[in-house]
C-alpha cells in the first residue's frame, strides 16, 4: 500500500463511533519489545540497527493483520509525511525524527501500527475509537503472541520484558485513553481531577503525549507502572478510572447546563462565531474553539449528524494535514493560519446556527436577594 492511499482516508479510530465516544475520543494500547542479544536502538551502531531492522520487518509484514499495509523505511518518508503520521498518532514524534535504520508498518485501517527501532526494537500499538481498552489490548496481545514465535524477545525471569528505559520494563505496556473534558475545564474541576488521577499512579498528558500541552480540552490518561501488575489488571484499573471520569464529565456538563447555562452558551456561541468568520486562526486556537463546537453537538445545540464533520476538523486543521492538502508547496505559518480559517469557514457555512431553544436560562434571582 502506498502512503498516498493511506492518507486519502482518515483512520478507522478517528471515526469516533466507539463506546462513550462523546467523551472518550480513542483508546490506545502499546507494547515495547526487544530482541535478545542485541543492543537497544539508542545504543546500537548503525549496522546493528540495520541488522535488527531486517530481522524484524519481514516478520511484521507477514502478520495477517498487516495484509496490504503501509510498510516504509523512515528515510523513504518526507518530513511532511512523517508529520501527518504523527498527527494521526500512528508514529511518535521521536520516531518521526529517525532516518535510516528505522521503519514503520501501519495496517490499512490505521488501527495497528508497529514502529521498528524507535526507543525499543519494537513499539506496537492498537488504536480504537471510543472506550475500548480491553478490545485494543486483546488485538495487540494477539499480534504480540504471533510475533514471539518468530522473534527471540529479551525476557528476564524476574523483570519480564526488558526495555531500553527502566520505566517500561515488565509488561512493556502503556495503555491510554484520549478524553475530551470541556465540562470539567469550564467548571474549574480539572486540576482536582488531574491530581486525583496522578495520586493513584496514572499519568495525564496533552494531545501528543509526554511533554505536550493540553489543547482543545483533550487529555491523555495512561498507566505509569509496568512492573509487578498483570496486563489485565492495569487495563481494568485504567478502564475503571476512565468510566469514573466519564461520569464526572457528564455531571459537570449537566451542572453547567442547570447552573451556568449563560456561560456555556456564550462559549459555544462565540466558538461558532469566531470559527465561522475568522480569516486567520492558529491550530491551537482552532482546537480550543472546536472543542466547544464538539460540546455543542454533544449537548444537542447542533444536529447529531454534524459530529463526524467536527471530529474531522480536529485532524484536518493540524499543520501537516493542511500542508498535504494544499496546492501551494510550502506554506508559511501565516499562510497556514489563513488556509485553516478558510477551510473551517467554508465548511461551517452550511452549519445551522446553534439551537438553544431547549436550554432555559434562569432569570437572575430577585426575591431572595432583594432587600428593601
Amino acid at each position: 500500500m502506498k502512503i498516498s492511499s493511506l492518507f486519502s482516508s482518515s483512520g478507522e479510530w478517528a471515526r469516533n463511533d466507539g463506546p462513550h465516544h462523546q467523551i472518550v475520543i480513542s483508546s490506545r494500547v502499546r507494547l515495547a519489545r526487544n530482541l535478545r542479544g542485541h543492543p537497544f536502538p539508542g545504543w546500537a551502531k548503525k549496522n546493528d540497527r540495520l541488522q535488527i531492522l531486517e530481522l524484524i520487518k519481514p516478520q511484521v509484514e507477514a502478520l495477517p493483520e498487516m495484509d496490504d499495509a503501509l510498510s516504509s523505511y523512515l528515510q523513504e518518508l518526507t518530513a511532511l509525511e512523517k508529520q501527518v503520521l504523527v498527527e494521526r498518532h500512528l508514529i511518535s514524534r521521536e520516531h518521526a525524527a529517525k532516518g535510516a535504520g528505522s521503519a514503520v508498518v501501519v495496517n490499512k485501517k490505521q488501527t495497528l501500527s508497529i514502529m521498528i527501532n524507535e526507543e525499543d526494537h519494537l513499539r506496537m500499538q492498537v488504536l480504537r475509537p471510543g472506550l475500548q481498552l480491553r478490545n485494543a489490548f486483546k488485538a495487540l496481545d494477539k499480534v504480540d503472541t504471533a510475533l514471539e514465535t518468530k522473534l527471540d524477545y529479551a525476557f528476564h525471569p524476574q523483570l519480564g520484558y526488558l526495555t531500553a528505559c527502566p520505566t517500561n520494563v515488565g509488561t512493556g505496556m502503556r495503555a491510554s485513553a484520549m478524553v475530551h473534558l470541556p465540562g470539567l475545564v469550564l467548571s474549574d474541576q480539572i486540576n482536582q481531577v488531574i491530581q486525583a488521577i496522578n495520586k493513584i499512579g496514572l499519568a495525564v498528558r496533552g494531545l501528543y503525549g509526554e511533554g505536550t500541552e493540553a489543547m482543545g480540552n483533550l487529555f491523555q490518561i495512561s498507566n505509569q507502572i509496568t512492573l509487578g501488575e498483570p496486563e489485565e489488571d492495569i487495563i481494568s484499573q485504567l478502564n475503571n478510572i476512565i468510566e469514573k471520569i466519564i461520569e464526572n464529565e457528564g455531571n459537570a456538563r449537566q451542572n453547567l447546563l442547570q447552573k451556568k447555562p449563560g456561560t456555556l452558551l456564550d462559549n459555544i456561541g462565540r466558538a461558532f462565531g469566531i470559527l465561522s468568520h475568522a480569516y486567520a486562526i492558529t491550530s491551537k486556537e482552532a482546537l480550543n474553539l472546536l472543542s466547544f463546537l464538539k460540546l455543542g453537538v454533544d449537548l444537542g445545540f447542533f444536529p447529531p449528524e454534524r459530529q463526524a464533520e467536527i471530529d474531522d476538523f480536529f485532524v484536518i486543521t493540524q499543520p501537516a494535514h493542511l500542508q498535504s492538502n494544499a496546492s501551494q508547496p510550502k506554506l508559511s505559518p501565516e499562510e497556514r493560519d489563513a488556509l485553516r480559517a478558510e477551510i473551517i469557514r467554508e465548511r461551517l457555512k452550511v452549519f445551522p446556527n446553534p439551537n438553544t431553544s431547549k436550554v432555559v436560562i434562569p432569570k437572575p434571582p430577585t426575591e431572595e436577594t432583594h432587600h428593601e
Binding site: H38, F40, G42, W43, E148, P166, G170
Partner: protein, 161 residues
C-alpha cells in the same frame, strides 16, 4: 525507614524528583542529604544518588568503572541518557537498578505475560526454587520424612527435559 544511601541512619529527607516526566523517590538521612547537596535541587540528579548507577559515586570510591560485558555501556552513559544499552545491562547494573525500579514501579517482580516458549522453563524454575526452600526448612526442622519426599520431587523436576 533507613537512608537509601548509607543504609544505616534514619531517613529525614524524603525527596521526589520528576525526570523526563517520570517520578523518582529517594529517602535520605541528614548527613547523606548534606553530602549529596540535596539542599540545592538544581545541583544534582537522583540517578547520582542511587548506588551502582551514580557515576560520581564510583569516582569518589575510586572503584573501577562498571561496564556491561555485552555492549560496553557504563553507569555514566545511563546518567546521560536515562536509557540502558542492551538487555544484559539489567543484570550488569542489577544492584543499582533495583532501587530505581522500586521507586518507579513500587514492585520489582514481573507477574504479567510470559512468552510461551519460556513459560515452562520459568514456571519450572519458580517451582524448583520453592521446593528447595521447603527442603532446607524440612532439614533444619529435622523433619526427614518430608525432606525425603521433597528431594524426590526435586529430582523428578530436574529430570524433566
Amino acid at each position: 525507614m533507613v537512608c537509601d544511601v548509607c543504609k544505616t541512619n534514619q531517613t529525614t529527607v524524603f525527596l521526589t524528583q520528576i525526570v523526563e516526566g517520570k517520578m523518582q523517590k529517594v529517602n535520605l538521612c541528614e548527613s547523606c542529604s548534606k553530602e549529596k547537596g540535596v539542599t540545592d535541587p538544581l545541583s544534582f540528579a537522583l540517578v547520582d544518588l542511587l548506588p551502582g548507577l551514580g557515576a560520581e559515586q564510583e569516582v569518589e570510591k575510586g572503584a573501577p568503572v562498571q561496564r556491561c560485558p555485552s555492549c560496553g555501556f557504563t553507569q555514566a552513559d545511563f546518567k546521560k541518557t536515562g536509557r540502558l544499552g542492551c538487555p544484559v545491562c539489567y543484570d550488569t547494573f542489577a544492584e543499582g537498578l533495583s532501587g530505581l525500579l522500586k521507586a518507579m514501579h513500587r514492585k520489582t517482580a514481573h507477574v504479567g505475560k510470559i512468552p510461551a516458549r519460556l513459560k515452562r522453563t520459568i514456571e519450572l524454575g519458580v517451582r524448583m526454587k520453592q521446593l528447595k526452600r521447603d527442603l532446607d526448612k524440612a532439614v533444619s526442622d529435622e523433619n526427614y520424612e518430608t525432606a525425603a519426599q521433597l528431594r524426590d520431587q526435586l529430582r523428578e523436576l530436574e529430570q524433566t527435559p
